[in-house]
Structures are given as C-alpha cells and as structure tokens.
C-alpha cells in the first residue's frame, strides 16, 4: 500500500515538475541594472551561503571583462555560455548561439567550462548548465537564460543590446 501511494505521489510530482520546467526552461530574463558596472569581487572567502541566497537580480549589471572570461569580448555584444561535460542541452545551445553569433555582426559566442571556473560560477550564482548571459559592448550582463534558449529569444535579446 505504501509502495502504491509513493508510486502515485512520485509520478504526480515529477509530472508537475517536468511540465513546469519545460515551460520555463531557457527563458531570457532581463537582469536588474541596480548595480551597474559594479566590479566583480576577486575570489574571496565569502561563505557559500551568501552566494546561495543571492537572487539572480542581484547579479544584474555586473561587468565581465575579457580577463575574467579568458577570451576577448564581441565588439557589440557577447553571448557567454556556461557548460559542463554532463549537460544534455549544452550542445544544442552551442549550435543556436554559434548560429546567432555568425548572423549578427560584432557578436561573439564564448563557451565557458563551468567546472574549471567555479569561482566565477559562484560569483554569478550559476546553478546549472547551460546558463547563457548576454553582454553588451562594455561586457555588462543584460540578459540571462537558464536552460536551452530559443533562437528567437536570443536574437531579440541581442536586438535590445545593440
């Protein structure tokens, strides 16, 4: 009996979660610009708790430099993709961003190995991959999408930046 109740509960909860995830996955969110161009603190001993409780909006307007990312930024905009090896949608995400970067002049697609940049991952509160950040010409984060983004959303996000 307990097994049956658990079975029904697990399938019901997983279904709800799966549908919710499918609906919200990859949505481009505008990042708050309250702290425009605030420098990202160098890796410090800030407790993990602080990072965990920080909301996505708190990371808005931060400026990423080519030194931080280890590659030069696009002239007009940069699409930064955080990936890991154990990530199913990263491949499809890369394809979409590459296509868009080729299509839109002055735009560069950078892929970052999240595992190799854990400090940056903590600072930006990146929780899963792929996470895509849209940077403007100065490197300021303007949009953020968690999960596989839709191509049209990436293009329109760039449209707002350019």
């Amino acid at each position: 009996m307990l097994g049956l109740i658990l079975l029904v509960a697990v399938l019901a909860l997983a279904s709800i979660f799966g549908h919710w995830r499918k609906k919200t996955d990859g949505t481009m969110k505008t990042v708050g610009t309250t702290s425009v161009a605030a420098p990202i603190p160098v890796a410090d001993d800030a407790p993990e708790v602080g990072v965990e409780t920080a909301s996505v909006a708190d990371h808005g307007g931060e400026r990423l430099t080519s030194e931080l990312l280890g590659a030069s930024l696009g002239e007009n905009a940069t699409l930064v993709q955080f990936s890991t090896a154990f990530c199913q949608p990263c491949r499809a995400t890369r394809r979409i961003l590459d296509e868009v970067a080729t299509m839109v002049p002055g735009t560069v697609h950078l892929e970052i190995d999240a595992e190799a940049h854990l400090d940056l991952v903590r600072q930006l509160d990146i929780r899963r991959t792929p996470t895509v950040l849209v940077l403007d010409a100065r490197g300021v984060i303007t949009k953020r999408a968690v999960g596989l983004p839709r191509k049209a959303d990436v293009i329109s996000a760039l449209g707002e930046v350019l």
């Binding site: 097994g3 997983a14 499918k22 410090d44 001993d45 400090d119 899963r128």
Partner: protein, 154 residues
C-alpha cells in the same frame, strides 16, 4: 579564443536509446516499489543495479536495455535524427546506481524505509528522463560541484 567543445562527443548515441532505457527503468522501479519486502523487488533491484553499474562503469554499449534497443527497437524506427553525447547518460547511470545500491542496502539490512526512499528518488529521476528527456543527475552536477569543492585559494 575558440571555446572548448565541452559537450562535443567522441561518441554519439541516438537520443532515443537512453530515453528507451529510462522507460524500462521506470517500469522496473515502479514494480520494485509496489513489491518492497518480497523476492520480486529484491531481484528487480539487483538487476537494475547491475544495469546501472554496467552503463556507468563499462559504458552504454554494455548496458542491457541499450543493447536491446539497438538490436530490436532501433531497426524498426525511422533513422535517428537527434544524437547526444554519451557523458550525460553515463553520469545519469552512475547517479541511478548509487540510488539502487542504497535501496539494496535497505533490502539486506531489513530497513524498508531506506528502500522506499531510495527507489522513489531513482524512480523520479528515471521518469523525468523518460517522459521529459530531463537528466536530474546532470542538472545537479554543477550545484554539487559548487558545494563540495571549496574555492581555490592561492
């Protein structure tokens, strides 16, 4: 300048293979959950643990559900159009292996609660994979990495 091709697979698999394996896993785990404390559940959980173990430690080629998919199911389907890297499904198998191994510890120590909880989690993960193509273990990978490896100090 050019980004490392992180997800670029050395080997690719038909995306339907792991989904098919996950669907069988759902059935096996669901029956296990309904028959906890019987020989049926014990047998199924041992089989599933071995299947996960083969997929995680040897490779997807050695995973029985995948072998069945390639031998029997795939030839009857339209040619594959979507492929994926083998790393995510192998990692998912490792996560599944850990859950069913814990479930077996519950079985052999007679603590049913452990078995119920472990099988329920494994079932949820397998169901999300089968129904939505969602890899729970993969999603939690980065979060785990963040929590368990401390910031590098020079």
């Amino acid at each position: 300048m050019s980004s490392p091709a992180l997800c670029d697979p050395q080997v690719e698999v038909d995306i339907r293979g792991p989904r098919f394996s996950a669907a069988i896993t759902v059935v096996v785990l669901a029956v296990s959950l309904l028959t906890v404390d019987t020989a049926v559940a014990t047998t199924l959980l041992i089989i599933q643990t071995v299947v996960f173990g083969l997929g995680a430690f040897i490779g997807l080629k050695a995973q029985p559900y995948g072998i069945f998919f390639r031998a029997v199911v795939q030839p009857r389907l339209a040619p594959a159009t979507q492929f994926e890297a083998i790393a995510p499904p192998r990692f998912a198998a490792l996560v599944g292996f850990m859950f069913t191994a814990v479930a077996l510890v519950g079985v052999f120590t007679g603590v049913d609660a452990v078995t119920y909880v472990a099988v329920a989690f494994a079932l949820a993960a397998a169901f999300l994979n089968a129904a939505f193509g969602f890899c729970l273990g993969c999603e939690l990978f980065l979060l785990g990495k963040r929590v368990f490896s401390r910031p590098a100090r020079v």
